[in-house]
């Protein structure tokens, strides 16, 4: 159905016609299959908005309340749908407001096309009104960017932008279009970009490397997999599952890899990293072969590098050659598309199970359950915990919801305790750690997958960083569910202050407004829960609601997230308290 629409549009736009640059922008987007974009109008982009008005039956523009919201919404859309997210803004402040979202998309490999208006080309460099060098500013945080000053160059630039954003390791691109290019005319013909000669998006998997990897895996006594988002981006979930099951390898995930394999899978041993699970962190330093798949050994995953898996042979599957040996020295590197590489690996693997080794993970999980998890999700103390809210949400959604989390304690709790039964269900700001991500990203996620339940889990700090997007939710009637876990603190920073700064709570306590009243002001159903006995019904009511819904849960003020690998410590020194 979708591809039919795209085809129709392609035939319609393939005839050459004399149109304005701004119309060419909109027709190019339609030709790329874009049916929704997020943005905010302003002087230097007005001609394009005028065309969006005319084409509104074919392409839907969502007016966010801030350009940062537009960028994050486009990210949420891209992350859940696997398609390219599109954000649009005017020059100057409009463009600079996109930058945080662009940087977030860059470090989390999210395909994004950002289009910014720019002042007339004859004014470039003259400090004109709302002129800013957005190409210069965005260079270090884009996969590619360019400035267009002639109408005739618009279709090619956008075709290249979409191709680069979605191919290979995806990422954000920015196309800056001067106002004269928007107003000028061109003979329009849209040809999708099929390649760029200086760019090899998907290096071809070398079968010899796969063979070397298979030999190491087959000879391993204590193998362990850590997979990342590369599995989701490469649509290699099934291949990964087959690898894990055939070779009987316990498999852990990074935050962005979450949900590629269901939480309940018997070989899914949980999350690695600073607040990951006890067993995979601890046993990283005991495994004999560590198989990294589509992950980049972020410092939050590895802890102290000098002591990370030094006993193990390391196999690294990645699409990006620059990731090989960047942080962790590999013994075997398999560079290529994850789906292709894993498919080549499967027939070379011997069917095995590693029961005694897997039991070690189970034993350590039992310790973590007793010391941490039980108290988090089945608390007996008076105050509400973030963990029990996640447990309730799991029950109500049967683990099928897409969880969009912000950054901080609630994020770690969400990643740890949410049940993920469907891929692309954990949408969060991983690498950049952008507070304010979740509310707008949830809007984009719900629009990118209207049939899925989308639940945003946000802290009281991050919520207030982009709280204005409630306006977007109200105007578009997008039925997202918003849960604010309110501990009246910037909780993660407070936790560090408690543990490493002798409880000097510098600027982390928050005096918050009445969030329920604010939500109601936007005509969003809202409820506040302060007692345990109210929680189950409130979550049930929220999930049952056909409309957007805001739920504030007032949780214990000074709870901490454990396990924890303190900064600079080895993963095997993971603390349970």
């Amino acid at each position: 159905m979708d591809s039919q629409i795209i085809k129709q549009n392609k035939t319609e736009t393939s005839k050459t016609m004399r149109i304005s640059g701004s119309e060419a922008v909109v027709r190019s987007l339609i030709a790329e299959g874009v049916d929704i974009l997020y943005g905010y109008p302003g002087g230097a982009i007005m001609p394009v908005y005028d065309e969006l008005f005319k084409f509104q039956d074919q392409i839907h523009h969502v007016l966010t309340r801030h350009e940062q919201g537009a960028a994050h919404a486009a990210q949420g859309y891209a992350r859940i749908s696997g398609k390219v997210g599109v954000a649009m803004a005017t020059s100057g402040p409009g463009a600079t407001n996109l930058v945080t979202g662009i940087a977030d998309a860059q470090i989390d490999s999210t395909p994004l096309v950002c289009i910014t208006g720019q002042v007339f080309s004859h004014l470039l460099g003259s400090d004109a009104f709302q002129e800013t060098d957005i190409v210069g500013i965005s260079t270090p945080v884009t996969k590619w960017n360019c400035q267009v000053t002639k109408a005739a160059d618009i279709p090619k630039a956008l075709a290249k932008a979409f191709y680069i954003a979605k191919s290979g390791r995806p990422g954000p691109v920015l196309v800056d279009i001067t106002k004269d290019a928007q107003i000028g005319e061109l003979d329009f013909e849209y040809e999708p970009c099929k390649g760029v000669r200086s760019y090899i998006p998907v290096p071809k998997t070398n079968p010899d490397d796969v063979k070397a990897a298979a030999e190491l895996i087959n000879s391993a006594k204590k193998p362990m997999i850590v997979w990342g988002q590369g599995v989701i981006l490469g649509q290699a979930e099934e291949e990964l599952k087959t690898v894990i099951e055939k070779a009987g390898i316990p498999a852990a995930w990074t935050i962005l890899g979450a949900s590629a394999i269901p939480t309940s899978h018997p070989l899914n041993i949980g999350m690695v990293g600073m607040h990951g699970n006890y067993a995979p962190n601890k046993l990283t330093n005991e495994c004999d072969v560590l198989i990294a798949i589509g992950m980049r050994f972020d410092d939050r995953v590895t802890g102290k590098l000098d002591t990370y898996a030094t006993q193990a042979k390391v196999i690294h599957f990645d699409i990006d050659p620059a990731e090989i040996d960047k942080n962790v020295k590999t013994d075997v590197a398999v560079v290529g598309d994850s789906k292709d590489s894993l498919a080549q690996l499967i027939p070379l693997l011997e069917a095995k199970s590693h029961d005694a080794w897997l039991q070690k993970f189970k034993d350590l999980y039992a310790i973590e359950f007793e010391k941490v998890i039980k108290g988090d999700i089945h608390p007996v103390k008076e105050g509400l915990t973030m963990g029990e809210v996640l447990r309730q949400i799991n029950e109500e959604t049967k683990g099928k919801a897409a969880i969009v989390s912000d950054v901080g304690q609630h994020q770690m709790i969400a990643c740890r305790y949410a049940d993920f039964n469907v891929t692309k269900s954990n949408i969060t700001s991983g690498g950049l750690g952008t507070m304010g991500f979740a509310l707008p990203a949830a809007i984009g996620a719900k629009m990118g997958a209207p049939d899925r339940e989308v639940v945003a889990i946000i802290g009281d700090g991050g919520y207030q960083m982009n709280i204005q997007e409630l306006g977007t939710i109200f105007q578009t009637k997008v039925p997202v569910k918003i849960v604010v876990l309110n501990n009246e603190f910037l909780g993660m920073v407070r936790q560090w202050q408690q543990l490493f700064f002798d409880k000097r709570y510098a600027s982390t306590e928050m005096t918050n407004p009445d969030f329920v009243t604010i939500a109601k002001g936007y005509h969003i159903d809202a409820k506040r829960v302060t007692k345990r006995e109210e929680l189950a019904d409130a979550v049930k009511e929220m999930i049952a609601s056909k409309d957007s819904y805001f739920l504030e849960v007032c949780v214990e003020k000074e709870d901490n997230v454990f396990p924890m690998v303190p900064t600079g410590a080895s993963v095997s020194d993971v603390r349970l308290s």
Binding site: P140, C146, I164, R197, S198, P321, K326
Partner: protein
């Protein structure tokens, strides 16, 4: 890999795009690496540009940074080489008062011995040009400094590598694939 800090010549074959220099220098800046010299020019392939960048770093750093360059969409290929693996030279110009040519006969000997070349002479000044290794240029500058130099300027290193660069192969492969 060797952790010794050495001089490496990084060669980039690139498209000629506005903004690419910014992208390249940002990669150094972000890693707090100082650029010793940078030269861009046409390469042996029409419409392909070449950057020659000299930096002091470890081999591990050089290997990683070259991958970061290759990752850039408009960089065709990136390489790093030690001084021993390249043939390299630098060039410089001196502007000196013409009077000195007659008042200080020693200058004529310096010019001869240094293999430098007089580009132009007029009543006020003459211009001397010299290509060679850094130490030769530095020696010449020291020698001439005694008499006074009106202007001195030195260009960045240019270098060709002893081994083959397979950039043409890559571009041909792309063309064959897409035609």
């Amino acid at each position: 890999m060797n952790e010794e800090i050495k001089s490496y010549t990084i060669s980039l074959y690139t498209e000629n795009n506005i903004g690419l220099l910014n992208r390249v220098s940002a990669i150094f800046q972000r890693r707090h690496i100082n650029i010793e010299s940078l030269t861009t020019s046409q390469s042996e392939i029409d419409d392909v540009f070449r950057f020659v960048i000299v930096v002091n770093m470890t081999e591990a750093q050089a290997a990683k940074i070259v991958k970061q360059f290759e990752k850039q969409v408009e960089v065709i290929r990136a390489y790093y080489h030690t001084d021993e693996q390249t043939i390299y030279t630098e060039s410089c110009m001196f502007k000196i008062k013409s009077d000195l040519l007659f008042e200080e006969p020693q200058i004529q000997n310096i010019i001869k011995e240094s293999n430098s070349r007089i580009v132009t002479v007029n009543k006020e000044f003459f211009v001397l040009e010299k290509s060679g290794r850094r130490h030769e240029i530095e020696a010449l500058r020291r020698d001439l400094n005694v008499f006074g130099i009106m202007q001195f300027v030195r260009a960045g290193r240019i270098a060709v590598t002893k081994d083959e660069m397979r950039v043409t192969d890559m571009l041909l492969a792309f063309n064959n694939h897409n035609n």
